[in-house]
Symmetry: C2
Subunit: 150 residues, 2 copies
Amino acid sequence: MIQRLTEHDRENLQESLATSGQKVTAQREIVFAVLLAKRDHPTVEDVFQRARESMPGLSLATVYNCLETFVGCGLVRQVNHERESTRYCPNLAPHAHFRDEATGHVHDIELPPEIIQSLRSILPAGFNSETIEISFRGRSQETPPRSTSN
Amino acid sequence: MIQRLTEHDRENLQESLATSGQKVTAQREIVFAVLLAKRDHPTVEDVFQRARESMPGLSLATVYNCLETFVGCGLVRQVNHERESTRYCPNLAPHAHFRDEATGHVHDIELPPEIIQSLRSILPAGFNSETIEISFRGRSQETPPRSTSN
DNA sequence: CTTGCAAATTGGAATCATTCCAACTCATTC
DNA sequence: GAATGAGTTGGAATGATTCCAATTTGCAAG
Ligand SMILES: [Mn+2]
Ligand SMILES: [Mn+2]
Ligand SMILES: [Zn+2]
Ligand SMILES: [Zn+2]
């Protein structure tokens, strides 16, 4: 259960933080590692629980801080469904989210560029959008959980 | 500023409520009228303020109740952006939302059926979605506010 | 008409995710 | 090894929403 980053992921973290003038800390490493280890769109509370296993003294406030920092430097995305707790996703590829109403699980849905393009094209003149968010809600026949280690 | 429903809208309200075994009340009429009068995706608080002008004794709890009832019988949609207060929209046609980051205004964006179709088609086998939500975020050159009376 | 009932409304308390804050810790620089 | 500034921490504050118990209302039955 101890969270460790690969060379590559650590560098990624280091550089992304550096870009916005911030540093790698033990807490940030662990929180980031937790996100990469299990890509199930955990809530802040989920991340907190998991990270605490490696760092018992970690505070909830710090988890909030780390996640906000990561969002700020583009390392992770926030995922909201209705009014539920915000979830966090380290998948940077363009994708939509599918929320299974039965299980509460959130799945990534790949977004082909042509769909994104056609969506942009429905915006009337004068509307400039930097972000498009797409979320599905329904039921799914739970995919056999393929390994999510990183 | 007094909120009144047209024959047609009142019938619509009456029938939608009846379908789920509920009745028209003075409070529900006014809340519904407020939604139709200004389709700017008001928050609960917005609706509360506006409705109070016609019915000073109306309570916030009742506004929450009415809106929940309307969502339940399909008369209005909830609109969420990030973690902001939920907004309400009486436009039942399939549409996406554009949130102007400068003004906070929310605009309806028409959704052509073929786009909806292509979105459904990106779902892997086993995923059945009843609802798709699409929201844009960005800036817009504010359209001259065309009349929104009903 | 009264009376009785179920649904709806109301004001205020409770919840709960998130934000705020002031004190404390740590790494780095002088 | 003192000063500095970013980062962390625990707890308080916030704010939208939900919950609840006490009325009120609209009808229906007697
Ligand atoms: Mn989503
Ligand atoms: Mn939306
Ligand atoms: Zn994702
Ligand atoms: Zn709308």
